[in-house]
Structures are given as C-alpha cells and as structure tokens.
C-alpha cells in the first residue's frame, strides 16, 4: 500500500515542472475561449471532457472563425492521432492492467504525462505499482489544467487583449525541456533533426497533418541511423 502511495507521490512530483509550462497555456486557452464566442459552460466542459491542450486551442480558434462542428471534430482527431503513438509505446507496460485502470489512464493521456511516465517505465527498477506513478502524473495535470482554464477565463473577461501577450510560448518552451532528456544518442539526434526539418517543410499542410508526417519521417530516420551506426551498447533508452 505504501509502495503505491510512493509511486503516486513520485508521479505528482516529477510532473510539477510541467505544470509550470501548462499554466500559461491553460490561462491563454481560457482567455481565448471567452473571446471566441464559446459560452463559459462550454469552455469549462471542453477542458473537463476533452482534456487535450493543443486541440482545445485549435478548436477555440476555429470556433471564432465560425468553422462547422464536423470540421473541428475532424481536426481534433488528426491533431490527437499522436496519442495513438503514445499509447502504442505504453502498451507493453499497461496491457496486464484491468480495464478500470486502462480507461482512466487513456482518458488522461497527455504529452506531458506520457513523457514523464515513459521514463519511469524505462527506469531500471521495475515496479508492479508503476501505474500509480502514471495516475499521480495524470491527476496533477488534470487538476492543474482545469484551474488554469478557469483562471484564464476570468482574466480574459477583464483584459480584452490577454490572448495577444504571447503566452502560447509556454508550449514550445515546455516541449523543449521534454525533448532534451531523450536526445542521448546519435540516432536520436538524427531522429529529432529530421522530424524538425520535415515539420518545417510540411507546415503548410491542412489540419496540422505536417506533425504526423514529420514524426513518421523522424522515426524512420532514427531507425535507419540505428541500423547503419549499430545499436548503442550500454545505453538504456531514455
């Protein structure tokens, strides 16, 4: 029992820095939501039920542009396809858990929780309770997101140009912090450079499809590099 609590607490603790990055991002979502014409109830419900920062952000922009619901839903699907890559990566670690664990952990899967948790699963000391770590990270992200969105809505109602401050810088900054620990080997460096370059070349594609194309190019480049250079010995995957 105490082991579970330790894992849970460690998951919360390791996620704390990422809350700092999500904070301005949540604030700006709330601020944008109230200026986009979305009702307060809908803005809160979206955070509570969809819980996907990047696509909520895009959805609010599309709502402001009077985009049809079906197009917004389709865009959300494409933008969130990367989560399928995440769940594939987590699969070996979660497949023995009952559905009552798999369902909530899937609902709460975000870039941040994934990046923190996969490093826990890859760490040398395996634990039968490592999913409690993921639960701790998930709940920390979820609670923080709800509070930031509500705070952002309050700010957005008082300060009309809050969205223009550039708080959206928080997402790339946070992601940079999340990328760096992964880049320990040359194939990983090649993967990142390829993904970045491809993303720049494909950024004109509709519905953010470039993200997916770039990710696949990066993965292919990394695997090819690994085959050519040989697997690094003694280095555990990040």
């Amino acid at each position: 029992m105490s082991h579970r609590r330790e894992e849970f607490a460690a998951g919360v603790r390791d996620t704390l820095p990422l809350l700092l990055g999500a904070l301005p991002f949540g604030l700006i979502y709330g601020a944008l939501a109230v200026t986009s014409g979305l009702s307060a109830a809908a803005a809160i419900a979206m955070s509570a039920l969809v819980f996907a920062g990047a696509s909520q952000f895009i959805a609010v922009g599309l709502v402001a542009a009077h985009t049809p619901v079906a197009v917004i839903v389709a865009t959300t699907f494409i933008v969130n396809l990367r989560h399928m890559l995440y769940s594939a990566t987590l699969l070996p670690h979660l497949k023995l858990l009952p559905q009552r664990w798999r369902i909530p952990l899937a609902f709460w899967l975000t870039d941040e929780t994934f990046a923190v948790t996969i490093r826990r699963y890859h760490r040398a000391e395996a634990s039968a309770c490592a999913h409690w770590y993921q639960l701790g990270s998930s709940l920390a992200m979820y609670l923080n997101w709800q509070l930031c969105c509500i705070a952002g809505m309050a700010v957005g109602e008082r300060i009309p140009d809050a969205a223009g401050w550039g708080l959206d810088v928080a997402m790339p900054i946070t992601f940079i912090g999340m990328i760096i620990p992964f880049v320990k080997t040359r194939p990983m460096g090649i993967c990142v450079l390829t993904a970045g370059a491809t993303a720049l070349l494909t950024q004109g594609l509709p519905y953010q499809l470039g993200i997916l194309v770039a990710a696949l190019a990066g993965i292919a480049a990394g695997m090819t590099a690994e085959r050519v250079l040989g697997k690094p010995k003694g280095v555990r995957p990040a």
Binding site: I173, G177, C191, I211
Partner: protein, 110 residues
C-alpha cells in the same frame, strides 16, 4: 450551453478518447512486430520536435527567422538552459523569463 456547443464537445471528447484508448482496449490481443517495438522509443522526441520547431520559427504562421522573434529567443535560451542544467524546471523558467524580459524591454524601448 447551446446544442451546437454540446455536439462540438461530445464529438471532440469522443474522437480524443477513442484515439487514446483504442490500443489500450485491444491490449491483450495486440502483438507488436519487433521492428515496431524498436521504433517506439523515437516517437516522443519526434512528435514533440515536430510540434515545437514550427511553433518557434513560424509563431504567427509565417517565417520569422530573427532574434527580434521572441519565440525563437525564448526557445534558444531554453535549449541552452536545458543542455547545461539537464533540469526541466530550470529550462522552462529560463525560457519563459527570456520571453517576458524581451517583451518588457520591447515595451520600454520601442
């Protein structure tokens, strides 16, 4: 909440949860080929970089390759801090500070 808003949120929630849950639902029946399993490690940095680099170099949807681009400035500061300190909190704090320092300086002097 209007009916259109309810439909929007229900649709977004359904596709988002569907994408996140599909493989977990099938977990016991899915066997990944070894080459797919070895590709999984590359996924997180590849996806995150693909989101990050355009957000920094084309912050408003247009190329902005100059140090008068506060997003690029903040990203460069964060990368330097991340490589030097290997500390996530320091990376985010330095990046955000650089961004807002630039914004304040621009307000004061321009």
């Amino acid at each position: 909440m209007s009916a259109a808003e309810a439909a929007l949120i229900a649709g977004m929630a359904a596709v988002t949860f569907g994408v996140r849950y599909l493989l977990f639902a099938l977990a016991a029946r899915v066997r990944l080929a070894p080459w797919i399993e070895s590709s999984l490690r590359f996924i997180p940095p590849a996806v995150l970089t693909a989101i990050t680099l355009p957000a920094v170099l084309l912050p408003r949807g247009e190329w902005h390759l100059s140090f008068s681009n506060p997003y690029l400035l903040a990203a460069a500061a964060a990368t330097a801090a991340g490589v030097l300190t290997r500390n996530l909190l320091a990376t985010i704090a330095v990046g955000l500070s650089a961004f807002f320092a630039y914004r304040l300086a621009a307000l004061a002097f321009l």
